[in-house]
Amino acid sequence: MLEAIITYEFLQNAFAAGILIGLIAPLLGAFIVVRRLSLIADALSHVTLSGIAASLFLSKTFVMFNGLNPLWLGMGFSVAGSLLIERLRAVYKHYQELAIPILLSGGIGVGVIFISLADGFNTDLFSYLFGSVSAVGRSDLYLITGIAVIVLLIVFLLYKELFLLSFDEEFGKASGLSTKALHLIFMVMTALVIAASMRIVGILLVSSLMTLPVAAAMRLAKGFKQTIGLSVLFGEIAVIVGLISAFYLDLAPGGTIVVSSIIILLAAIGYRNWFAVKKS
């Protein structure tokens, strides 16, 4: 495997991107899960799809958009979607979860229109839906690296504020924290991580990398920092194992990464239950 990585540039790109995503997706995911926003991540990923589809359509139809990296438009749609969710949640104060199906179906709906306009599925689109080992280019890697640096920096600098926002928003407000601004930063970060992750795990499976490692970590961890640490560890294992098996078995990495995550999750649940039985 190592030899293959040294030989092929596309594998270097895929692994570098995968390791970055294995770090930032579960890191942010820990906050997303405890804030009960997992489904929002899913809705945003579908909005990203419409951005990707729009971009593929534009570059196919208009010469001037030729060569445009679809990640940019996907990222733009995703960030716009995160802001729209906040508007919708404010409109439906008592039915905040309504924002999720609205964006989820809206994202797919718009996406499907662009896909039809661009004359249906092609391999490019397939790789965006389910991830790809071979499709990560240098420009993708640069963009993903940029997003990873921004997210790591923000989470590092605003860790205690994000913790307080997640644990007890009202107490945060009462102690003078501007929770609105913080929440907005958080949503935009989520949108960016989703855009970054889809090259590897695919749009349809992005949220899995933000939730499954965290679900496993929560079974085992003491405290929030440990939850984050274990989530990142599990995320990295899932991505690396997933990418290697995808390469050798010629499968879409989205599938292998999710299956690896689920195996880790089952092991964590099993370990905890076995341990609990032994203790009592």
Binding site: D168, E170, F171, K173, L177, G223
Partner: protein, 256 residues
Amino acid sequence: MSHHVIELINVNYRYDKEQVLTDINLAVPEGAFLAVVGPNGSGKSTMLKLILGLLKSKGGEVKLFGKPISKFREWEKIGYVSQKANAFNTGFPATVYEVVASGLTKKAGLFSRVERKYKSEIIDAIQAVGMQDFSNRNIGELSGGQQQRVFIARAIVSRPQVLILDEPTVGVDAKNVQTFYDMLERLNVELGITLVLVTHDTGTVSNKITHVACLNNTLHFHGSAEDFEQVKDQDLSAFYGHDIQTIHHNHSHGVH
């Protein structure tokens, strides 16, 4: 310069069309232990939220430490303990230590790491509520009473001068309520923290409080507990039902 830590001057509040608070005047002196009593829906929690800046008054003025609330910035001087039941997700994977440390978020300021810098303050606060043996446990594994003690520790870790508590004993089992209030009394007497407590447990606290505020959309009585004794024969008791009766009854224990 007034020595009142909290002042409400002709404060009004309404939710949509429903008037909740009308012309509230209240002044809490430094070092007081004020109990706010009143029936459900009388606006007790709303009044606390106005003081905490979680809601904005619709008429009148709120002053904290002599400053209008809109200009007040020293929020670390005010600690807050909410009704536990609706404020927190019991499955949250955070240790007691992490939860208490989060009470320093504002005091420490942006970009600083609290957990190492304020280690001794955090340990002191955990000790003050008697939870030192649990500091590495996840908050969800504790009983309701223990959780509420952790929230007190979180509120006092920034060394506030005022502690505001909204029915803190909801969900705490009866046998621990007394210990809980004993601990509050210690904070008030030994550390000199001004306490504002919304409660239904008037029987348990009546020998600890120094001031009483009876709220039912308007403030019907506000003064020292001794003054309260003087007006007890007025028809207020009929208006408030058992709250007044309980306080009256327990006055035999003496009020400081």
